[in-house]
Each structure stands twice: as structure tokens, then as C-alpha cells.
Symmetry: C2
Subunit: 344 residues, 2 copies
DNA sequence: TTGTAGGCGTTATCAT
DNA sequence: ATGATAACGCCTACAA
């Protein structure tokens, strides 16, 4: 037997009072007598009354739900999503996560769907395929709050949180230079991602600072993907003047590069240096362990959610300044030529 | 300027017809003249009318939303969630993912929250802390569809999908036996998880089959956690009669075991054998590469979602039979004593 | 074929 | 302090 959940009507009927009084009592309004309040709450307790969210949603046009669109759920993004979730939950929001799978079309679909569901706003990280931002601009035009994180895009004007990609790229590259590497190659990601270009900029900045000529043949754009990185590295290693170090702008790519290096029979760090980006925990388990750039992903997520909530509460004065979080160099065996003690 | 989205009322007013006619026309009902249908649809097009989901939700008491509760989003579960998402989206459902973080209290909270949100049903994998299932039973009593996947629990009667844990444990252990290992230890997970006990059963079955005595000192229960596994392995290796092989019921634990083995200065596979469970891609990158049991996580997720949809459409005749998916042995350097060619 | 009216569960406005 | 009523946007008997 399945009896429907009780409503304020039921309570009103049983108590012989009006629904409005019940409603007020439940919301603990000021203009209800303490006595009726008590009797109402007693019955609420007894019937285990729960306000119907769906009715509330319709009435308030709010769902207390945030739509999160991410290109995938790799290590970094799933940490960030956890951060978002943490803060959102705390603030009484539920998060709906949609993966675009790096597909522009899917991203549009996701946005559309979430809009239909009546999410109160969006927290977004753009797919690598996305070059046009009309689907997001449409959201903004509807005055729906939106925050961009991690994979930001300069064409998309919105409050944003990301790490210092240029700084990270710089740190990684300068580290290799300081270790004495001369011909440093870089595996950059897809060209249209700001995250790729910024890390690449960092690489270039470091070379410039140390007066090393930038050699275009050492800059390779390829997908964020272990296999692509493997093949790209194989090509790099078969160059007449092969690089003596590689900076990959993600750890996944570093893994592919490592496999190609091992296959070629080269030794890290002496024959060749390697450094990745993200500092996934696995790097420390490999032989040799692989250097990387650490980023506080969880914090980025938390900040994104906080920023979202701020934005939502202040829609007529949106703060477009970028929040940029610092990264940290984690030097390991794959790039540490000098004895660790000497470094101290 | 922000003008509200159009409603059927607006359309009705502009066309000088009643809302019910508009409603019918939009839903392509049979009892509307082709002509009015056309004019309505034209205006729908022009105004870019979208039915208000929130109103629909209230009316139909459905949200086309599935609540997914998982203990975490590790490699296996995030693959499964992707599978769920895939099928659910296809079927017109949106998925809300909640992580219990292996916490019983959090799991209850998640269930409660999702219920409030008016999800149409649940797809659930239980936390390692969960021993009581009242929060789930309460859902079932409300006649809300629920499917359990991966981490099932025999006390929870519900349609379920999982892999053949016992079979996987058996394969892993028998493989070690066939490689000539004699004293095989097992790092099992938390005692109250069926997933732990089943894999452990597989281990015991294999020993029995090969007439090897079960030694309780070689069976260690510890959290699904690299650090715990590390310490547990250190203890195992300091036993007077130390094991010559270890089966860890997850890859995370295998990583911890590997570190302890390396720290002790032992070589795999000769000094000691090691095999994990899940076959995370990283295993193949390690030195030595680590054996494991492969499971089709994505498929498990897809099947769970399919099963959910079936269940939801057939609530008065719920199929409680278990769907069990086979696993596969992936033998690698950490446990392959015999030359690979000989194996052929 | 079309229109009217009531209801889904709640809150807000206006009376009383 | 309490009650009646309209409204949120949509659907569906029932009536015309």
C-alpha cells in the first residue's frame, strides 16, 4: 500500500485551520501564535511531512541546482568537481555534472538540457573542440549566473578561476634549463585551448629569459592523450638533432612520452629529461619517478563554487576579474640530474 | 532587459484561442485541427517557446532524473558512472551523482537530498561503512525504483549488476598458484563489503582446489587505500615465514604493496609475486608491470542504467535476479615467472 | 474541434 | 493572528 506524502492541505484539514496558517507555521513566520505553531509542528513531526520541492521549484523558479559541464572526469577535473560539490552542498545546492567528452556538440546539448532542467546557474570548463561560445553567451543573456573554471576562454567574459598556467609552464621549463638541458621540446595540447597556449607561453618565456633560441621543430601540438604523446615523442626522438628534454603540458602526455623514451632505450634523466603537468599521484610510483607541476585542484573547485555563489547573489554587479592560483614545481628523478642533497 | 520565457498562455492570448488548445497542439494531440496546429507551431517557433520543465515536474511528479550514489569516483566507479550517464542520457534522463565518500552518514544524507529533489529513482553503490540499509529500504517502500551496482549487499533486495568477484579472486589466486607460488597472502578490503568477501572467497576456493592450507595470518583486512596496503604489506613481509606472493583485491592496494616490496628490496616476480584487481591503465606503465583482473566497468554502468529503466517501467514485477559480468586475467611481469613464449 | 475549470503543492496578497 | 484567493505553468476531465 502506497499512501502519498502528506501536504500542508492534509495538515490544515486535520487541524481544522487554513493552509496559509500551516504554511506560515512551518516556515516559522512571525505572525503565527506560538500555540498553533506548536500543534502544527507536532503534526508535521507525526506525519513526517516534507515540503514538496517540485512545487517550491515551480513557485520560486529556482531549483537550488547548479549545472556543471566538464570536458571529462580525469584526475584533475574530478578533484575540482569534488571541490565544487563540497562547497555547493554546504550552501544547499545540488550539482548536476555533465561531461561533454571534449565535444562541442555535446557541450551545446548539455547546456540546453541543464537549462531545461531549470538549473539556477552554470559552472563550466570548456571542451577542447569549442571555438564558438554562443551557447554560453545565450545563457549569460538570460541573466543566468555562470562561472568558468580551469579551461577558461578569453572570448568568454565570465567570472573565472584557473591556475597560473603560464607560470607553471615557465617553472617546468626553467627547471629543465637549470638542470643543464639545452634542447628542450614541448608537447603542447590542442591549439585552441587557452590552457595549452598559456603553458606554451610559459615555456617560451623561460627560453627567452635564458637566451635560448626557440626552435619550432621542438614544439608539437597534439591531443591530451597518452597515445598521441607516444607517437609525437617517437618523432621527436628520431629528429637528427633530437631534444635532450621534454616538457609535456599534461601528465597523461608525460606517460606516453615516457613509454617512447623507454622504447628508444634512453635513460632519464641523463640521456633525456622529462617533466609533466598536474602531478597525478601515479608519477611518484614510476621508475624513474616523473617530475611535474602540482596544482591545487580541489581548491580550484572550491573557489569556483564560492565564486559562483557570490556571483549568483550579485548578478547586477558581476566581478569579471580572474582568480589565478599558483602552482608548484615537483622535481623528481626524471629531470633531476644533480644530486638531491646538492640542491639544498 | 530580460523578458520572461513565453508560456502557453502567451501563445493562447496572441492567437486568441484557449490554453488547452495550445497545449494540445503542442503535444500533437489527435483532436486538434491541422490548421490550428500549424498556426500554433508557427508561433511556438517564432517565440522559441520551451515548455517549462518545473511545471511539468510538479504536474507529473516526475523529473526524468536519476540519483546516483557512489562511495567515490575512483577509476572503476567513474567508468561505471560514464556508462550510466551514456544510457541514461540516451533515454532522456539526467543523472545526479552524489559521492558518499565511503561515509554511512553521508550516504543517508545523499539519499534524503535526492529524494527531496524528486528524482525518479536511484542507482546505488554502497559505501564501505554501510551496515544498515534502512535508508534504502525506505526508498523501496515508497515504491521508488532502485538498482544496485558494483558494490551490492545481500541484505538489500534489489535488481543488481556486478562483476563476478568470486570468479575474479579465484582467477587471480589460481594464476599465482600456477606460477609456482606457495605462500600466497591476500589483502582483502573492509570486512562488511560483499566485494571484499567475495574476492576473498575466490582466493580461498583456489587454495582449496589446489589443496593448499589456508593460513589466517596471510589474510589481512584493510581499507581500500594505498597507505594502509603499504603498511599491511610491510607487516606481511616481516613475518618469520613471509608470503611469496600477494593478491590485493584492488589496484590501489597493489600500488601500496609494490612500494613496500620495493622498499624491502625484493624483486618481482622472482622473490615475490603480485597481482591486483581492476586493471587500471597505470599498472602497465610500472616497472615491473603489475598483473591484475580486468573488468568491463563501462559495460557494468551501462547495464545498470538499462536495468534501472526496465525496472522503472515494470515496478509491479521487479526482477531481482543478479546480473553478473565476467572478469579476465591480465598477467604481467609482477607475477609471470615463466617466459611469456612458453605460456603460449 | 474547442473551451472552461480544477488541480498539482506551495507562497504571497489582501482581507477579516 | 488567521483565512480566502490567486498565482506559478501545465495538463485533463468535462462540457459545449
Amino acid at each position: 500500500m502506497l499512501n502519498k506524502p502528506p501536504t500542508i492541505k492534509d495538515i490544515a484539514r486535520q487541524l481544522n485551520i487554513s493552509v496559509s496558517t500551516v504554511s506560515r507555521a512551518i516556515r516559522n513566520a512571525s505572525d503565527v501564535s506560538a500555540e498553533t505553531k506548536k500543534t502544527v509542528m507536532a503534526l508535521v513531526e507525526e506525519l513526517n511531512y516534507q515540503p514538496n520541492q517540485l512545487a517550491l521549484n515551480l513557485r520560486s523558479k529556482q531549483t537550488h541546482t547548479i549545472g556543471v559541464i566538464v570536458p571529462n572526469l580525469d584526475y584533475v577535473l574530478s578533484m575540482m568537481v569534488r571541490g565544487i560539490d563540497e562547497v555547493a552542498l554546504e550552501a544547499g545546492y545540488t550539482v548536476i555534472i555533465c561531461q561533454s567528452n571534449e565535444s562541442y556538440g555535446r557541450e551545446i546539448l548539455n547546456a540546453r538540457r541543464l537549462l531545461d532542467r531549470g538549473v539556477d546557474g552554470f559552472i563550466v570548463s570548456v571542451s577542447s573542440e569549442t571555438n564558438s561560445f554562443d551557447h554560453f553567451k545565450k545563457i549569460q543573456e538570460k541573466n543566468i549566473p555562470m562561472v568558468v573554471f580551469d579551461r577558461v576562454a578569453s572570448q568568454l567574459k565570465a567570472p573565472s578561476v584557473r591556475i597560473d598556467n603560464t607560470g607553471g609552464g615557465f617553472m617546468a621549463t626553467e627547471h629543465l634549463i637549470e638542470q643543464g638541458y639545452k634542447r628542450i621540446a614541448v608537447l603542447a595540447g590542442p591549439q585552441n585551448l587557452e590552457i595549452s597556449n598559456s603553458r606554451l607561453d610559459g615555456y617560451k618565456n623561460a627560453l627567452k629569459k635564458h637566451k635560448i633560441k626557440i626552435d619550432p621543430s621542438l614544439i608539437i601540438h597534439c591531443d591530451f592523450n597518452q597515445d598521441y604523446a607516444f607517437f609525437a615523442t617517437e618523432e621527436l626522438l628520431s629528429l637528427k638533432k633530437r631534444p635532450d628534454a621534454i616538457f609535456t603540458i599534461s601528465d597523461r602526455m608525460a606517460l606516453g612520452a615516457m613509454l617512447a623514451i623507454k622504447k628508444k632505450g634512453l635513460q632519464m634523466p641523463n640521456d633525456i629529461g622529462l617533466i609533466g603537468f598536474n602531478d597525478e599521484p601515479v608519477l611518484n610510483l614510476l621508475t624513474p619517478s616523473i617530475s611535474s607541476i602540482e596544482q591545487p585542484s580541489f581548491e580550484v573547485g572550491k573557489l569556483a563554487a564560492k565564486l559562483f555563489i557570490e556571483t549568483m547573489h550579485n548578478m547586477d554587479n558581476i566581478d569579471l576579474s580572474e582568480r589565478i592560483i599558483k602552482t608548484k614545481l615537483i622535481a623528481r628523478e626524471s629531470s633531476l640530474k644533480i644530486n638531491a642533497k646538492k640542491l639544498k
